[in-house]
Every structure is written in structure tokens, then in C-alpha cells.
Amino acid sequence: MAVYSEFYKDINFGGALETFTLDDNWRYWRIHFTGNWNDTISSLRANAYAGYNGNVYAFSDGNFMGRFAALNMDEGWTSWWSYVGDAMNDTVSSAILVNRNKNELVIDVKQQVESVFISGMDDALKGTQVSRRGDPRIYTTLWPGYDPTKKFVSIEQDLTVSVPYWFDYDAQVRYDVYLYLNGGGSVQGYVAWVYVWVEGGILSGDIFSSLQPKLVAGASTLTGKLQSLLAAFGSFKFSSLYLLPGPPPPHAAGEILDVKSGSTLVLVH
């Protein structure tokens, strides 16, 4: 085993306890807190050993989304939250334990992708009735219901649709990027899913029918740009690729963040 974790219903490791151990045959242990364990956790503690570092993430939503309380452990260290704080208290519905190797390349995906996405999106929207509203949110989506075995880097952008002589409509596009290692150990990736929504109103249907195909077509442009970014890793071979929620874990014992605060790509040498 490589990550051992304990979840408690009360603060300061009190009350009922459930333990979980992740052995070194798996990258992730996915935990679903159901029944009388849903929305009841107040403290947690974890340890990494047997040649691995480790992370534990406890999520407020049942599908590894929402906010998370993370623990970061180098091998041989114990980290804990004696209290997950008022905002996270009694909200945890799912968790993951993660085995971390010693020889990894850890990449902040948002830093690598954000500016390329923004410039590409602005170019594509120039001269149209659609404009970006704010910067994109780039985050890790783990095993979503529509593709339950896969993990994605999601790039989510709010949009404004300006309709002549009418109210503006809010809209949003999300591109789910699938990253993987090919047979030779090189990093590959492409946009696998496109999700679009348009605010509800009398013109929603028309706007959606007009907007969605164009945003879906934009996936191939984004895939092309990703290929250019991934070419930087072209000469390197890796043995494993995986994703973590949030930005790269700091050296600190843990942090509490929103899942949509970032995405981390980990490549194992």
C-alpha cells in the first residue's frame, strides 16, 4: 500500500471513522461517501509510504467537483486537517487518494494553455456578435457521467451574444481535452467533447442553433493549437500521465480550493 487515509465525522479526529488504503497497483482510489457518510466529514488525516508520495482530495460534490480540501504528503510524512473549516465542514461527498511517483514533471496547465486559448478565441470571434466575458476557467474534470472512464482538462469560457435591438444573451462553451500517452510514451491530446449552453429566453433556440455548430467546429482549431503546445514534449518519453484537480500542489501540507481554480498535468519519467 502507498497512501493510507482516515476520514472523521467530528473535528480533531473524533467521532466515527472510516479508513481507506490505496495500494501501489493503482494511481487513484475513488471514494464515494454515500448513506450516512455523505456530508458529514469534519477532519481527515493521511500518510504516504512504501516508495510513494501521495495526495488526498476531499470534494464537496459527489462527482469530484465543487470545492476540495487537499492533503499533500511526501513519502514518510503524515498530513492532516484537524478541521476542514466552516465552508467545507459537513459537505464532503467524494474523495480521491492519489499515488505520486518520485520522478515526475508537474505542469500547471492553465499557465501553458490560457493565453493560447484566449488569443485563438478572440481571433475566431472577431467581427461576430459573440464576445468573451472574462477569462477562461481551466480545470480538471474527473470521470464525468458522459465519459465515465476518462479524465479531461476542461476549458470553460463565458460568452456574451449581442442581439440587435434585443437583450444580450449569456452563453458558455466548454472544451474537454483528453490527454494521454501513445504507445511510444509521447504525450498526445485532442478536444474530445464540446458543451455549449445559451441562457433561457425566447431566442435561445435560434441562438443555440446558430452558435453551437461554430463552437463545435472550433474544437479542431483548438486541437491544432494543443498539438503545437504538446510538440514541446515531443522528444521525451514518459511512463505514465495523469491529472490532479486544482493548480500544482504546493509544498505545504494542504490547501482548500475550488476545483475550477486550475488543472495539473503530471508526467512520470
Binding site: 500500500m1 493510507y4 472523521y8 480533531n12 479526529f13 467521532g15 466515527a16 472510516e18 479508513t19 488504503t21 490505496l22 493503482w26 487513484y28 482510489w29 475513488r30 464515494h32 461517501f33 454515500t34 448513506g35 450516512n36 457518510w37 488525516r45 492533503l71 499533500n72 511526501d74 514518510g76 510524512w77 503524515t78 498530513s79 492532516w80 486537517w81 484537524s82 478541521y83 458522459y146 472512464t149 435591438y165 434585443w166 437583450f167 494521454y180 500517452l181 501513445n182 504507445g183 485532442y190 474530445a192 467533447w193 458543451y195 455549449v196 449552453w197 441562457e199 433561457g200 429566453g201 425566447i202 435561445s204 433556440g205 453551437q212 486541437t223 505514465s240 500521465l241 495523469y242 494542504g254
Partner: protein, 164 residues
């Protein structure tokens, strides 16, 4: 005709009412009834279609190697299919196995003992009732420093190296 701007606090009822009025003025009608639900929106998710000549889509074997790296778990106490020995029997078993630990069998026994500890703890309303056994197992597994500073109050995250 001037552009309409929507106040941020406009309710959906009011928005639909004003849009309906605009639609009547311009002889427009929605193709289907519009919901008044606050969260109503039109949405869709689409898998992207790569060309048949694309080499980006991984083969089944490559996808499995990349994707099937997880296992699932739920708390023992809510798993109706898991049969556990009684906490008292588990306590005696753990004590016995801890006594028989040697440097040769440690790596084999300790994971099993941790599992038995979890089985026992999941059946008890409060971890306090097996606190001394809990402490004994974790110190055996991870070293003396494991329980230092566990009584920090309030909202604190911390870490400690074991065996130091």
C-alpha cells in the same frame, strides 16, 4: 430602434414578459414554449468527430492503459455486501498479529492489520473507543511521531515526518 440592455437583477418572469412584448412587436414567436424556471437554458454536449485519417484517437489498448488506473470504494459501514468480523474479534486478531510481527513478515502483515483496524473502526460510533489500539497500530506502522500535535484546535493543516 434602440438596443435593449438587461438589468442584472431582472427576474426571469420579467425578462420573458419583456421578450414576449418585443416578439409581438416584431411578429416573432418562439419555436417552442419557453420555461419560466430560473435555471432554464438551452444546452448540448457533443463528442468531437476527428477525420478518419486522424491518428489522434488512441487504440482501445492504449486508452485502457491510460484510463483504467483507478479503483472504487465506499465506506465499509454503508456497504451492505461487506461482512465484517465483530470489533471484539478484530481487536483480538490485531493484538495477536502485532505480537507476531517480525522484520521478515512486517511488510506482509502491516497492510492486513491496517485493514482490520478499519474494519473494526467502521463498526463503532466513535473512534475513541479503540483509541489505544488505533494508536498502537499507527505507531507500529508509521513511527512514534504520528500522533504528535493531533490535538490542534481549530482550522489547521499540518504535517509531520514519521520516525523523526
Amino acid at each position: 430602434m434602440e438596443k435593449r440592455s438587461k438589468p442584472k437583477d431582472m427576474s426571469r418572469d420579467e425578462q420573458i414578459k419583456q421578450e414576449t412584448q418585443l416578439a409581438l412587436e416584431h411578429n416573432l414567436s418562439p419555436h417552442s414554449p419557453v420555461s419560466l424556471d430560473r435555471n432554464f437554458r438551452v444546452e448540448g454536449i457533443t463528442p468531437t468527430m476527428l477525420s478518419s485519417s486522424s491518428t489522434l484517437i488512441p487504440s482501445f489498448e492504449v486508452a485502457c492503459r491510460n484510463d483504467l488506473d483507478f479503483q472504487d470504494a465506499i465506506p465499509r459501514s454503508v456497504n451492505p455486501y461487506r461482512q465484517l468480523a465483530s470489533p471484539e474479534a478484530l481487536r483480538m486478531l490485531i493484538e495477536s498479529e502485532l505480537k507476531s510481527l517480525t522484520s521478515e513478515n512486517r511488510e506482509l502483515l502491516l497492510p492486513r492489520i491496517l485493514e482490520q483496524l478499519g474494519d473494526a473502526a467502521s463498526q463503532l460510533p466513535d473512534a475513541e473507543s479503540i483509541a489505544s489500539l488505533h494508536k498502537k497500530v499507527l505507531i507500529t506502522m508509521f513511527g512514534e511521531e504520528y500522533f504528535k500535535n493531533v490535538k490542534e484546535a481549530g482550522h489547521k493543516v499540518a504535517r509531520k515526518p514519521n520516525n523523526k
